[in-house]
């Protein structure tokens, strides 16, 4: 527990760490989107299954990012 209690990112408090976690996930999503899009397009056969997968990937990721951001806002955690 003591390790957790002392854990802070960029000298911020644990509450701010939540937003940093969120930003980290946003960054991961953006980077992975670029990588996926490049890998899928390079495959050459841009069929309907691949397009559907791409669509589902973006929709669910954006929903999860949005939902977590909304939860943080409702939690009234300020960065």
């Amino acid at each position: 527990m003591s390790v957790f209690q002392n854990f802070t990112l960029f000298s911020s408090g644990p509450k701010e760490t939540l937003w940093l976690l969120w930003l980290l996930m946003l960054l991961s999503f953006l980077v992975m989107s670029l990588i996926f899009s490049r890998a899928w397009k390079q495959f050459g056969v841009h069929n309907s299954a691949l397009l559907f997968a791409e669509f589902i990937y973006y929709i669910i990721s954006i929903f999860l990012l949005g939902f977590s951001a909304l939860s943080l806002l409702l939690l009234n955690v300020n960065f």
Partner: protein
């Protein structure tokens, strides 16, 4: 990028059996359920005290859980891309072997179907027999390659040999036509 010849038609795209991918997905589903089990066991109190948030603990749990789900979702797509992009594309003239190593690395080999000398099916294990998958060894004389963990290897063997027959017939027709001239 995969390079296709002019007018080359894709006959079939073959992938590895989905067993490994299914196991990875199962692991991710368990990882998605774990926080809920931890919540039922009262672990949320530790999380709340760590973040020092006593009002609206629901939103704290929801935020952390959705971020966890997003991480698992990205991991799922890494596994899926690895499975989906690792393929053998059988065209009316060639077999294109696309080997995907993770997300960043890829190796593409092209083999001409008319050069194939022999196609063997490896002896299958009990699991392979029950799940109806196996490995094909394709011999092109000096060169050879494997098509591993593919579904219904007998059908694929027939398909490739059928395509080879079509190519050889086409070549024969061309030769006869030229001799007739």
């Amino acid at each position: 990028m995969i390079a296709y010849d002019k007018g080359e038609k894709i006959v079939k795209i073959v992938r590895r059996h989905s067993l490994a991918f299914t196991l990875e997905t199962l692991f991710l589903i368990i990882a998605a359920i774990l926080p809920y089990v931890a919540y039922l066991k009262g672990f949320d109190a530790t999380v709340i005290s760590f973040f020092n948030i006593s009002n609206n603990p629901f939103f704290l749990n929801a935020a952390l859980y959705t971020l966890w789900l997003l991480l698992l979702w990205i991991l799922f797509f890494i596994a899926w891309s690895d499975f989906w992009l690792d393929a053998w594309i059988i065209t009316d003239g060639r077999i294109i072997d696309v080997e995907q190593y993770g997300i960043f690395r890829r190796r593409i080999n092209y083999y001409r179907i008319d050069k194939i000398q022999k196609i063997n099916i490896f002896d299958r294990t009990k699991l392979e027999k029950s799940m109806n998958y196996g490995t094909l060894l394709i011999n092109l004389g000096e060169d050879s390659f494997k098509m591993e963990e593919i579904k219904e290897p007998e059908n694929l063997q027939e398909l490739i040999l059928g395509e080879q027959k079509k190519i050889l017939n086409r070549l024969k027709t061309t030769v006869t036509f030229e001799e007739g001239k």
